[in-house]
Every structure is written in C-alpha cells, then in structure tokens.
C-alpha cells in the first residue's frame, strides 16, 4: 500500500493528471465502443433473426428427422417446421399456381406475421401483428389471390383434397422477403398437409427447419451438435446470411466503430506517451534524491512499477466506468432511432477495456519510465547528470507494438491494423523529414521579419527536437480526426446513395411479352422511372463440357437442379464489374456465331461460377423448354446487391435468346402516394408479380440512421482524444517556455511580446502539423477506402486547407491559453514554481 500512498502523493504533485486522463480516455473509448457495438450487434442479430423468423434455419429438400427435434427439446431450443412448394389452388372454375407455405403452430419463432381483414390495405390501423400462423383448416392469403380466384374472405379454396377457409389477408411474413417467382402466397397450417394429399414422393418441396433459443449458449450447443448431422441436401442459414444487404451495412458500421475505437486508442496512446515522457523528465530529480538516501535501483524500479500498476488499475477501472456512462449516453442519444430493446453486453467489452488500459500502460508509460532507476544520485549535486531515457526508436517500437497488438485483437483484421499503423508511420516519418525542412525554412524567413516573428521562428528551430515531437503529436491527432470525418462522411454518403429516397422499392416480374407495352405505359403514365426492363427466359443447365449434370452435382448446388433466369443485354449493367474475362465489347462475337456449331457467349456471376466449379472456356448446355443451346463462359461479373436493381447470374449478348419464350422484369421506385398503382397492376395483370421492398428498405434506413448517429457521436469522442494529445504535446515544452518567458520579462519584455511569441510559435507549429496531417490523412483514407470499406478513391481537396487552418487555430489557441501563466504571474513567482 506504500506504493499507492506514493502514487496519491505524486498525483498531488500535478504531473500524473494527463497520464491518468489519457489512460481513462483510452479505456473509455474502447469500452464504450465495445459495449455499444456488442449491444447493438446483439440486438440487430436478434432483429435480423426476425428476417429468418428464427435464430437459425436449416433449408433442406427433406423433412427434419425426429432426432433433431428430440435433441432440440433436450437442449432447450424451440423449433418450428415449415414447408413451401408451388401448387394449384382452385375456387370453382378458377385456378392459380400459388406459392404454398405450410407452418407449424410455433411459427414464427422470431418476428411476427401481419394480417388484415381488408385486401390491399396500406392502413396500419387495419393491420394486425400476430406471433402465430393460421389454425387448422384455415388459410391466410395474398391480397392478389382474391381477384385472381374471384374469392373473398370466408370463402373456401381447394388445395388437393383439402378445403381451406380464407380467414385473413396475409400482409407481411417475417421471412417473406426472399424473391419468389411463382404465384400468390397461401399460408396454411402444417397439420393440413396430410389431408390435402398434395405432397407426393418427388414433389418439389423446400423444407425449412426453424430454431431459436432464449439462451445463446443453448443455441450454440445445439448448432455444434447439428452441424455434423447435416448432409449435402441441408443448408444452415444464419441471420447475417439471410439479409446480405443489411449484414453488409452492419459490417461496415461495425468496422467504422472499430476504426473509431482504434483511432481513439492511438490518439490516447500518443497523449499517454507524451504525458509519460513529460512526467519522467520531472521525476529524474526525485529519483536522484531517493537514491541519495540509499534507495537502491531495484527498489526505485519496484516503486515506479507498483505505482504504474496502481495507476493502470485505477485508470482502467475509472475508464470502464466512464466508458459505461458514455455508452449509456450514446444509447440515450440514439434511443429514438432504436426500435428494439437492447440486450445486455457480455464480459468481452469489459475485458477489452481493462486490457487496453494495461497494454497502453505497458506500451507507453513504462518505456518512458524505464530509465529512471538508472538515474545517478549525483544529479542532486550536478544538474547535468541526467540518465538518457530509452531511445526514441525503442519507445516508438514498444508503443507501436502495443497499438498493433490491440488493433489486431479488436479487429481480428490484419489489413485494418496495417492500414492504420502504416498511415501513422508514414505520417510520423514524413513529419520528421518535412517538419525539419519547414522549421528550417521558417527560421530562415523569420530572420527577415519583425522581431517577434524572428524570435518565435528561431525558437522553433532551436527547440527542433521538441518541436518535431509536438508536430508529430499534433499532426497525428489532426490527421486521425480528419480520417474519421472523411471515412464517416464517405460511408454515410455511400449508404445514402444506396438507399437514396428514390431507390427502387418494388420489383415487377413475370411480365408477359404481350403485357409489356401496356404495363410499361401504366408505369410511365404515373411518371415513374424504372431501372430498365430486362427480358429473361427460364432455362436449366443440363451438361457441362459435354458431361451431363450428375446427381452429385445436383446435390451440391441448387442451380444444377432448378430453372435459372437467363437474360441478355448489350451494355454492362450498372453496378456490375467484370471480374474475369471480358464484356461483349472485348470479344469477337462473330467468332461464336460463325463456329461450326453456334455457341452463345455467357457472362456468369463471379461467386456462382466459383461455387459451380466453372472456369473460363467451359461449355454449358442449357435447356429452355426442351430446346437446347450451348454457351461458352467468356467472363464473370461481380454484382452490387445493395442498389435494388435487377441482377442476373447469367447474361448473354443480344440476339441469341430472343427466340425463346420470355417474360420481362424491372425495378422501380413507387412513392407512398402512388402505392395504389400496385393494386392496379395486380388486378389488371394477374400474372404479373410485384415484390414490395419498401418495408425492408425502411428497415434498412432505420438501421443506417442508427449507425450514422452512433458514428457522429463517436467522432465527438475521438475529438476529445485529439484535444488530449494536443494538451500533452503543449505541456511537453511548457516549463522551458515559461522559464524563458520569465527571464524575458525580468529583462523588461512586455506581456504582448511574450504572448505574441507564443502565439506565433504555436500557430506556426500547428499549421505545419496541419500540412503534414493533410498528407497523412489523404493517404490513409485512400488506403482505408480502397481496402477496407470498398469505396471508390477520391481526392479530398478540403483536407489540404482545413488541416493547416485547423491546426494553426487549435494549437495556437491551446498554446496561448497554456502560456497565459507566463504573463499572469510575477517573474520571480514563476521561476520559483518552475
């Protein structure tokens, strides 16, 4: 406890404040980010679960075996079975190929179903949310089934041998957002399936086995048990996979929070290193004194180590507390954007926060104090006998090592860590080289200027080591702040662009050639823009390179089993990028037409080509309604799934597929006030399918706005870290500056002159640091945008003038504020205090 007592006494001496605050801030930033990220992550995972109607789903071509259900019960996991298949439903003489979905009573396990008594209603007050499906003998149906079959609520429709009563209009299913190319939805009870007799051996049925548990451990344990039981027919689907677009948005948000946290730690680390260096300089005399009393070097080391550990412990605990309060504050701010209740975080954020404190201490404070025990006691008599600290290179290495370790731990991403560190390293090295040139130039030009300028600029050059350290600190802080702002702005811009107000929110599918013109006119008459009309034919792969598709291939991927949408276009669709090979303009299309047996060039989606094991030059035989043609894979494309425009896995040039039976599709934005157009289309063109994405987009927008708000608040937190770095850097040279100011005042210099010198020194230093920061920030942002956030590179001109101006103003104001003591106190009093 003696070391704690000593720590408290040292604290009273006033030099520990900056170290403690840096430590507290490092821990607080990381803790608040981790707590926020984990809680929102858990909540959104839960939210995403509602897209699946479960926490986990197995999609299969066969029913889940009884053993799975028994084990689920044993492990406390709730389950529900579901099957979907196309089947004809009848009412009198009318019939429709409907999309049947049969669910057990426990469906949905997550989220809710929305139903109404009124067809085509958009009025929320007429829509009811329920957590169960239809009872036995009942069906809930899509509004559009009513005009298709000329039925009303209360009528009974026939499905196979069963008569099922329509009791509700099905407005929304939690897991109903996936595209379906078949008819109107009919939701029925699983128990009615046997009586209907529609499921026979060989029927095309997709089974879904839904799982959810209140305790994550139970689910994890069951998942571990289940995975080995799965075979090629089964596919395990997680909430993340269920909604790739939201998942991608969340992932970027998560990465940004992580980047923000990392930048916070780097900034706090810089502040900690500077403050520790300053503290250690002030401790050399004390150590000499202790050693003159006969305290051994080992004892001194132990004393400082124990004090440091206490400091680390107290700082970390305090940081955890501040982090918790801050995360709570963040949550309060974003609460109105959070429609979901947040689950509590686990232990991980606390462990991350606490460890950060100790690692920062070990990486930044201990190296600065390392040389103290070796301090000669002779320094009590001879002031010049000062033991040199660990070399700057070693301290830098230890600091960078600590940060690198933390970054890797937080991100689990080598590229992110390297990008941040390389930005930091390049900024530092450039700062030293260019900083020296700037200081030298400043000194030379200063000679030809007024006395204040000459004194100030000469001072900067005379103290060039300190000036460079400060410049690195300032430029690091300014650069990191600018990186934060740029990346945040780019991300938000990208999200806003993806989810622009007029982003397509409806898909029109299955438009027959004879309906195309009139549907097109209807859309145009309503002044709505489409993402373009795409024709498509339905075809099946039957052979690759002359070998028929084997059963093993069919088991390995559903694309080998089902009909695919094949489309054609002359231009590369927006959002598509050629991944391998060439687009049509890069190949000789005539070569294909002129070959002995005509070939069709085909461009395939890059991931799918990989999954199907297709390589460039492979020849695929497609069957379209019994007619076959051969195609050669000439390229692959990566697609942008976020922009809500039609995407096709298989694209052909124009003029090859037009002879086959085809339908058309498009996506378009339908504003809320024109929503009734959907009814017009459905009623006038019963075969046309409309996929309504407006609700999903609304959901994505909500999530994006939450994340955006969080990012803005995080930027403020990082600003706090940056200011702390500036304080630490300014305080580094302050005692020397105050001493010089006191001497100048005793020699008769005016307060104006002294403050003027400080103002010019700090403003110049800040502006120089700003120039360097702009360079470092532009480079780092380019790296981050290119490799991490997958954003296009762009030059940020505003950085180049904001950096120097911001640096000059901030550092100048801070320096002058700090220096006021130099003119506020009588010179003798000042000298005595120093």
């Amino acid at each position: 406890m003696r070391s704690l007592k000593m720590l408290i006494r040292t604290w009273r001496g006033g030099d520990l404040g900056l170290i403690l605050w840096s430590l507290v801030l490092a821990v607080a930033v990381v803790t608040s980010v981790s707590l926020l990220a984990e809680r929102i992550d858990r909540a959104l995972t839960k939210e995403s679960s509602s897209f699946l109607a479960a926490d986990l789903v197995v999609r299969s071509s066969k029913e889940a075996p009884l053993s799975w259900l028994r084990e689920a019960e044993n492990k406390g996991v709730n389950t529900a079975k579901m099957m979907s298949f196309p089947s004809i439903v009848f009412y009198g003489d009318d019939l429709h190929l409907a999309s049947i979905k049969a669910v057990q009573a426990s469906y949905p396990l997550r989220g809710s179903l929305k139903r109404s008594k009124i067809a085509f209603t958009r009025d929320e007050s007429l829509i009811e949310s329920v957590a169960y499906g239809p009872s036995k003998g009942e069906v809930w149906v899509d509004s559009r089934l009513l005009p298709l079959l000329n039925v009303d609520l209360g009528d009974e429709i026939e499905l196979g041998d069963a008569s099922l009563k329509i009791t509700y209009i099905l407005v929304e299913e939690p897991d109903g957002s996936s595209y379906s190319f078949i008819g109107a939805r009919v939701l029925m009870n699983y128990a009615d399936i046997p009586a209907s007799g529609v499921i026979q051996p060989g029927s095309r049925v997709t089974y879904r086995y839904l799982m959810a548990a209140d305790k994550q451990d139970n689910l994890d344990s069951y998942k571990s048990w289940l995975e080995p039981q799965l075979d090629v027919h089964d596919r395990l689907i997680t909430p993340d996979q269920a909604q790739a677009s939201i998942s991608d948005t969340l992932d970027k948000g998560r990465r940004f929070l992580l980047l923000a946290g990392s930048i916070g730690v780097v900034l706090a680390g810089i502040a900690l290193a500077l403050a520790s260096h300053h503290f250690a300089s002030g401790q050399t005399k004390q150590v000499a004194l202790l050693k003159s009393w006969g305290i051994s070097a080992n004892r001194v080391r132990a004393l400082y180590l124990q004090q440091s550990l206490w400091l680390g412990f107290i700082g970390s605990i305090f940081g955890l507390l501040v982090g918790f309060i801050f995360h709570y504050f963040l949550l309060m701010i974003v609460q109105e954007w959070l429609p979901i209740s947040l689950p509590l975080a686990g232990a991980r954020p606390w462990i991350i926060g606490f460890t950060t404190g100790l690692v920062c201490l070990a990486g930044f404070t201990l190296p600065a104090l390392w040389h103290l025990p070796a301090q000669s006691p002779l320094a009590v008599l001879r002031h010049e006998v000062i033991t040199q600290p660990l070399s700057a290179a070693v301290r830098l290495l230890l600091g960078v090592g600590a940060i690198a370790g933390l970054l890797l731990w937080y991100s689990n991403n080598f590229v992110v860590s390297v990008a941040i560190l390389s930005g930091f390293a390049i900024s530092s090295i450039t700062s030293v080289l260019i900083g020296l040139i700037l200081l030298r130039l400043g000194m030379q030009y200063g000679r030809h200027m007024g006395s204040i300028w000459r004194l100030a600029l000469t001072n900067l050059w005379r103290r060039r080591s300190q000036s460079l350290i400060q410049m690195i600190g300032f430029s690091g802080a300014i650069a990191l702040l600018m990186i934060m702002v740029v990346v945040r702005t780019s991300l938000i811009d990208q999200w806003r662009f993806q989810l622009a107000e007029d982003a397509p929110n409806h898909f029109l599918l299955n438009v027959a050639p004879y309906e195309l013109e009139s549907v097109r006119s209807l859309v145009e008459d309503n002044n709505l823009d489409t993402a373009g009309w795409y024709a498509m034919v339905r075809g099946r792969m039957i052979a690759i390179n002359g070998e028929p598709i084997s059963d093993a291939q069919k088991d390995s991927h559903e694309s080998f089993r089902r009909e695919l949408n094949l489309s054609w276009t002359s231009d590369l669709p927006e959002g598509n990028k050629v991944a391998q090979g060439e687009w049509w303009d890069g190949i000789d299309l005539n070569k294909f037409a002129d070959s002995e047996s005509p070939l069709a060039p085909v461009s395939i989606e890059d991931d799918l080509a990989g999954e199907l094991g297709l390589i460039m030059g492979d020849r695929i035989i497609f069957s379209v309604g019994g007619l076959t043609f051969e195609a050669e894979m000439v390229g692959t494309r990566s697609l942008n799934w976020d922009n809500m425009t039609p995407n096709f896995y298989f694209l052909f040039p124009e003029g090859l597929l037009e002879k086959y039976p085809r339908t058309s599709m498009t996506s378009l934005y339908i504003p809320p006030d024109k929503k009734l157009l959907v009814n017009d289309i459905l009623q006038n063109y019963p075969t046309v399918q409309v996929i309504e994405l407006d609700k999903i987009i609304k959901k994505i927008r909500t999530i994006v706005s939450q994340v955006t708000r969080g990012l803005e608040v995080m930027t403020l937190l990082i600003l706090g870290c940056g200011i702390l770095v500036m304080f630490a850097a300014v305080s580094l040279s302050m005692s020397e500056r105050l001493q010089e100011s006191a001497i100048l005042r005793t020699l008769g210099s005016s307060r104006r002159l002294i403050l003027g010198i400080q103002l010019i020194e700090f403003t110049t230093l800040g502006a120089m640091a700003g120039i360097l920061a702009s360079m470092g920030a532009e480079f780092s942002v380019a790296m981050l945008q290119r490799f991490i956030f997958d954003l296009p590179f762009s030059l940020h001109l505003w950085l180049w003038y904001t950096g120097p101006v911001l640096g000059g103003i901030l550092v100048g104001a801070l320096g002058v504020g700090y220096s006021r003591k130099a003119v506020a106190l009588p010179p003798l009093e000042l000298l005595r205090r120093l």
């Binding site: 001496g13 050693k291 051994s296 070097a297």
Partner: protein, 229 residues
C-alpha cells in the same frame, strides 16, 4: 569517520582528459565539522559527491564509517548511504506533491519506519515549523523550505550530514537562521558535518576548512589557523 586517500577524478571530454580532482587526502573525525571552500569549478561539489558515495573517484579510496565505499558497487554504496548519510541541498529538493510533514517523513517511510510521521513532526517542531506541517512546498518561503529540508536530513539520524551550499539560494538573514539550525542540530545529534560553501562566515563556524583550487587541495587546516592566516 571519513578517510580519503589519494583521490583523483578525471573525465574524458572532447578536448581531452579533464582533471577535476587531484590527490585529495582527508580525514574527518566523528562529530567534526568540515567546510570545503574554493572558487567555482574548483571541484567542491565533485568532492562532496565522492565523499557521500554519490560518485566514484577515478582512483583512490574513500571510507565512510569504516565502509570502504570505493570498493563497492552502486547497490553497496546505496546501503551505506541509507545507514550513514544525510543531505541538505542548495535547491531544497522538496517533493511538490507532499506536505512539509510528508516530505520529512518520506525517507523514514521508505526505510520502513512505522513512527515516521511522529519523528517528522518532532523535527519540524525542532526547526520551528510545527504550524506549517500541512503546507505544501509552494506555500512555504525559501527559508521555510530549506528548514524542512534540514528537518528531513536530521530526521533520518545520519552519522554524517553533507550540505551543498545550504544557504546559496537564501538571503543573508534567512541563511543565518539555517546555519544556526544546522550547527545546533549538529551539536545536539553529534553528527559529522561536511559542507560546501562560498561563504567564509559559514566556513569559519566549522572546526576545519579545506580549500580547493583547480581540483587541488591547497589548504586543510583548523579554522583558528585559517583565520590567523
């Protein structure tokens, strides 16, 4: 008490070898007071540092209270210093975060003395600062700060007290008070006192005075001889 034989101290500089002390021989008895005087740069502080075991000579030997410290490493010298030596410095060296009482108690506490605060309070009273125990150094005048430093030095009950220009930062009146305190406490505690000073009136109060010039011992005599010479 202090035995010094043939001490030389030289350092390597860019200009070549610089001799700071040359063939110093000295013997100081228990309770004796010795003043080391000489012009600036004569090697006074270097000699004090070597005598106190803060520094080592290039050659020669120093024995403190029977311990030959020149044959020891820094750890060994630290043990001897802890048992034997006390210091008063020109610039006080009080720790800013500690009150006057805590400053005096600190070396005792570090040596595991359970009664450190009681002892410290006693010595602060002895130097006339019993009303200033809770004051921080910045709240004390220069003279008061040096009195705290004197109390700190004597509180450890050193056998030998080394003082480096103890009144160098103080005005004459305050310096006189400190001098009186040093000699009074020295008498009371029976401490050997070795001090470096520029002030002849302070040197005259010592039993002996040693004069250094350019690192050489030009005179070592009792003060009666010095005064008469």
């Amino acid at each position: 008490m202090i035995e010094v034989k043939n001490i030389y101290k030289q350092v390597n500089t860019a200009e070549g070898v610089l001799r700071i002390l040359e063939d110093i021989n000295l013997s100081v008895a228990r309770s004796e007071t010795l003043a080391i005087v000489g012009p600036s740069g004569s090697g006074k502080s270097t000699l004090l540092g070597i005598l106190a075991g803060l520094d080592v000579p290039s050659t020669g030997s120093v024995s403190l209270d029977g311990h030959e410290i020149t044959a020891m490493d820094e750890e060994g010298r630290a043990i001897v210093r802890a048992k034997t030596v006390g210091f008063v410095f020109q610039s006080f060296y009080l720790l800013p975060g500690l009150t006057a009482l805590e400053n005096v108690a600190l070396p005792l506490e570090l040596n595991g003395d359970d009664d450190a605060l009681k002892t410290a309070a006693h010595y602060l009273e002895r130097v006339g600062l019993n009303s200033r125990t809770t004051h921080y150094p910045r709240q004390l005048s220069g003279g008061e700060q040096q009195r705290v430093a004197v109390a700190r030095a004597f509180a450890c009950k050193p056998i030998i007290l080394f003082a480096d220009e103890p009144t160098g930062n103080l005005d004459t009146g305050t310096g006189e008070i400190i001098n009186n305190l040093l000699f009074d406490l020295n008498n009371e505690e029976g401490t050997t006192l070795v001090l470096v000073t520029h002030e002849m009136n302070l040197a005259e109060r010592c039993d002996r005075t040693m004069v250094l010039q350019l690192g050489c011992q030009v005179k070592d005599s009792s003060n009666t001889d010095l005064v008469s010479s």
